[in-house]
C-alpha cells in the first residue's frame, strides 16, 4: 500500500525510548459502576499492541479515556511525553492520536472522498475555508492517497450511506490514517468483516509505516495475534496479563479462561 502519514514533521517522529502512551492509575467510574480501575500501561512509539478481553472487560472505556471521549475519573494520560489528561478530544487528535469506533461512525450524507478529505482537513489548516478544495490541495492529495490505500478508489464519489459494512470499516481505517497519525486506536476493526476483508485489513495494518504505532481491540484472536507485538489482557476493568502473542497464547490461565483447553489460535476471546 502507499504509505499514508509519511509526511510527518521531524519532531513528530518517535525518539528512541520515547513512550507514545503512558497511563498511570487511570480509572473511570460511571456512578457506582467502575468501568476501568488503576490502569498502568505504557506503549512505545511505533509499537503495535492488542488489547483483548471479554465483553465488559473495559477495553472500549480504556480507549475513551485515552481519547478523552470519557475523561478518566482519576489518573494521568501522557501522550508522547505530554500530559493530555485535561485536553479536549480534538487537541489530542491534533497531537497525533487517532481512533476508529466499534460501530462505524461516518458521515452518511457525504461521499467517501469527502469523509476522508474532512479527516485530512481536520488535523490541518483551512478548516474554516469557504473555498472548495482544489485537486492540488494538500489535504485532497492525501485523501486520494488514502482512498487508494484502503482499496476504495472505485467508490470515491459514492455516498457513505450506500457502502457495505466492510467498505465502511475500510473507510474508518482511512479516517484513522489521515493527517500524520502517530498512535491509532482501532476498536474492533474486523467486526462483521468477511474472511477476505479480514485478510485485507491485516495486510493494511501490517503495512503501516513503522513510526505509526497502534492499539487494537479485537475479538478475533487470529487477527489480533497476527498484527500485534505485545498483548494486554483485560478482565473486569483491570489489566490481567501482558506479554508477547506467544506468551499469551501459551499461558495456561488464559487458555483456561478464553481459549478453552487445547485450542490454539482462531478462537474467540
Amino acid at each position: 500500500m502507499d504509505e499514508p502519514g509519511t509526511a510527518v514533521p521531524r519532531s513528530a517522529l518517535p525518539q528512541a525510548g520515547q513512550f507514545a502512551l503512558e497511563l498511570t492509575g487511570v480509572s473511570r467510574h460511571f456512578g457506582a459502576l467502575v468501568a476501568i480501575a488503576d490502569i498502568d500501561m505504557t506503549v512505545r512509539a511505533g509499537e503495535r499492541r492488542a488489547v483483548l478481553g471479554s465483553n465488559g472487560a473495559g477495553k472500549t472505556t480504556l480507549f475513551n479515556a485515552i481519547t478523552g471521549d470519557f475523561p478518566p475519573t482519576s489518573g494521568r494520560v501522557r501522550l508522547f511525553g505530554e500530559d493530555v489528561t485535561y485536553l479536549p478530544v480534538h487537541e489530542r487528535i491534533r497531537r497525533g492520536l487517532r481512533r476508529t469506533y466499534q460501530i462505524s461512525l461516518l458521515f452518511g450524507g457525504l461521499s467517501v472522498i469527502e469523509n476522508i478529505f474532512l479527516a485530512c482537513r481536520g488535523v490541518g489548516r483551512g478548516r474554516f475555508s469557504l473555498l472548495r478544495p482544489r485537486p492540488d490541495d494538500g489535504a485532497m492529495e492525501m485523501a486520494e492517497t488514502l482512498l487508494d490505500a484502503v482499496h476504495l478508489d472505485d467508490r470515491r464519489d459514492t455516498p457513505v450511506a450506500e457502502l457495505s459494512h466492510g467498505e465502511q470499516r475500510q473507510l474508518e481505517v482511512a479516517l484513522a490514517l489521515s493527517g500524520a497519525p502517530r498512535l491509532i486506536l482501532f476498536d474492533e476493526p474486523a467486526a462483521g468483516l468477511s474472511p477476505s476483508e479480514r485478510a485485507d485489513l491485516v495486510e493494511i495494518l501490517q503495512s503501516l509505516p513503522p513510526h505509526i504505532g497502534f492499539i487494537v481491540i479485537e475479538h478475533d484472536m487470529d487477527v489480533a495475534l497476527r498484527v500485534a507485538e505485545r498483548v494486554t489482557m483485560m478482565h473486569n476493568g483491570r489489566i490481567f496479563k501482558q506479554g508477547t502473542p506467544e506468551e499469551i497464547e501459551n499461558d495456561p490461565e488464559i487458555q483456561e479462561l478464553y481459549l478453552g483447553h487445547g485450542e490454539r489460535g482462531g478462537g474467540r476471546a
Binding site: H90, L106, F107, G108, E114, R121, V123, L131, A139, D157
Partner: protein, 355 residues
C-alpha cells in the same frame, strides 16, 4: 461532490432548463409586474428569504435552530439608523452610507457570533430556548432604551443612497438590489456547502463526537457558522431598513422572530432555495389573506398553512415539489422503460437529500 464537475451534463449548455427559466423570470419580473408586486411582494420576499437563508444555513447544514436571526438583522437595521441619517432627531450621526452599512453588517456578524458563543454548547430545544431568550431580551431592551434606540418609537427617515444617478428605493432598482444580494448569498451557501467549512458543518450536525475525533473543534466550528450566518442576516437587515424606511421594536419582536422560523420551515430546510419559496408564500399570504379573511385573522391563515405543510410535508414546500416531481417522472419512466423499470431506483434518485 468533488470531481463531479468532470461529468458531462444531461442538459444543453450544461444548465438545467428549469433553473434557466427561473432566472429569466426573476430578471424580467419587474418589466411586467406593477410597482406593488415588484416592491412589496418581490423585494420584500427576497429580503425575508435572505434572513431565513441564514437560519437555513444554521439549522439545515449545522443542526442549530436559532430564533435570533431576525434579532441579528434588526440590529443591523438599528445600526443604520443610529450611525447614518434618520429624521427623528435622536442619534443619527450622519456617517456615509457605505461606512454605516459595512459597520452594520460586521456588527451583526459579531452579535451573531456572540449569540453562537452562548448557545453553541447546547443542542435541540435548549438552543431554541436560549436564542429565543436573547431575541426577547433584545426586543425589550430596544423598546425601553430611549437614549440610543429611541424606545417604542424607534427611527424613521432612513433611506438608501442615490448612487450612479439611481435612487435605490425606487421599486425596480431596489428589487434588483435585493435580487443581487439574495442571489449572491444563495450561490455562496450552495458553493460553501461543499467547502472545507461546509463539509465540517454538516459533519458536526450529523455526529459531533466523530467530528471531534477528526481533530475539529466542534464549538469553534459552530460559532464560526453563526458569524457567517450573521453576515447574511445583517446584510438583509440593511436592505430591510431601506425597504421600510424605519425601524422600531416591532421589527425585532417575537412575531417577526417566529415568522422567520415559519418561512424557513414552510419553505424547507433541505436546500438554500427553501427559504425563498417560504418567503414568497408568506408574503403573498400576508398581503392577500385579507381578501379571504379578516385582517385580524391573518395569523390564523399563516398558522393553518404552517400546520398543513408540517403535517403533510415535514420537509416543507421543497418536499412537496420533490414528491410531485417524482410522481410525474415515474409514469414517464415506466412508459419509457416498460413494466420492468426499477421503481426503487427512481424513488431513490429523486428522494430529497437530507442536505
Amino acid at each position: 461532490m468533488f470531481g463531479a464537475a468532470g461529468k458531462s451534463s444531461a442538459y444543453p449548455l450544461g444548465i438545467n432548463p428549469a433553473i434557466l427559466l427561473v432566472a429569466v423570470f426573476l430578471l424580467g419580473y419587474p418589466l411586467f409586474a406593477s410597482d406593488f408586486f415588484t416592491f412589496q411582494i418581490g423585494a420584500y420576499s427576497l429580503i425575508l428569504g435572505t434572513i431565513a437563508l441564514s437560519l437555513t444555513m444554521l439549522a439545515g447544514y449545522g443542526g442549530m435552530v436559532s430564533l435570533a436571526q431576525m434579532t441579528v438583522a434588526g440590529f443591523a437595521a438599528y445600526v443604520m439608523a443610529i450611525l447614518g441619517t434618520n429624521s427623528v432627531g435622536v442619534m443619527g450621526l450622519g456617517w456615509p452610507w457605505w461606512l454605516t452599512a459595512a459597520i452594520a453588517i460586521l456588527g451583526a456578524a459579531l452579535l451573531s457570533t456572540f449569540i453562537g458563543a452562548i448557545s453553541a454548547r447546547t443542542e435541540g430545544i435548549y438552543t431554541i430556548m436560549i436564542t429565543l431568550a436573547i431575541a426577547v431580551a433584545f426586543f425589550y431592551f430596544v423598546r425601553q432604551n430611549y437614549v440610543i434606540f429611541n424606545g417604542f418609537t424607534g427611527f424613521a427617515g432612513i433611506e438608501p443612497p442615490t448612487l450612479f444617478g439611481v435612487y435605490w428605493r425606487d421599486p425596480m432598482p431596489f428589487y434588483y438590489l435585493c435580487l443581487a444580494v439574495a442571489a449572491f448569498f444563495y450561490f455562496a451557501v450552495l458553493y460553501g456547502s461543499r467547502s472545507s467549512f461546509g463539509l465540517g458543518l454538516q459533519a458536526v450536525r450529523d455526529n459531533p463526537r466523530r467530528v471531534r475525533a477528526l481533530g475539529i473543534n466542534v464549538f469553534s466550528h459552530r460559532v464560526v457558522a453563526y458569524f457567517y450566518a450573521g453576515a447574511i442576516a445583517g446584510t438583509a437587515g440593511v436592505l430591510l431598513v431601506w425597504f421600510n424606511g424605519r425601524v422600531s421594536p416591532g421589527l425585532v419582536g417575537v412575531d417577526m422572530v417566529i415568522d422567520i422560523l415559519v418561512i424557513a420551515v414552510i419553505g424547507g430546510l433541505g436546500a438554500p432555495i427553501g427559504p425563498f419559496l417560504g418567503a414568497v408564500a408568506f408574503v403573498l399570504l400576508e398581503n392577500f389573506a385579507i381578501d379571504l379573511i379578516d385582517r385580524e385573522r391573518f395569523n390564523t391563515v399563516i398558522g393553518l398553512a404552517f400546520l398543513l405543510i408540517v403535517l403533510f410535508s415535514p420537509d416543507g414546500m421543497l418536499g412537496l415539489w420533490r414528491r410531485a416531481e417524482s410522481r410525474i417522472r415515474l409514469p414517464r419512466a415506466n412508459a419509457l422503460w416498460g413494466a420492468r423499470a426499477n421503481r426503487d431506483d427512481w424513488h431513490s434518485a429523486s428522494s430529497p437529500k437530507r442536505m
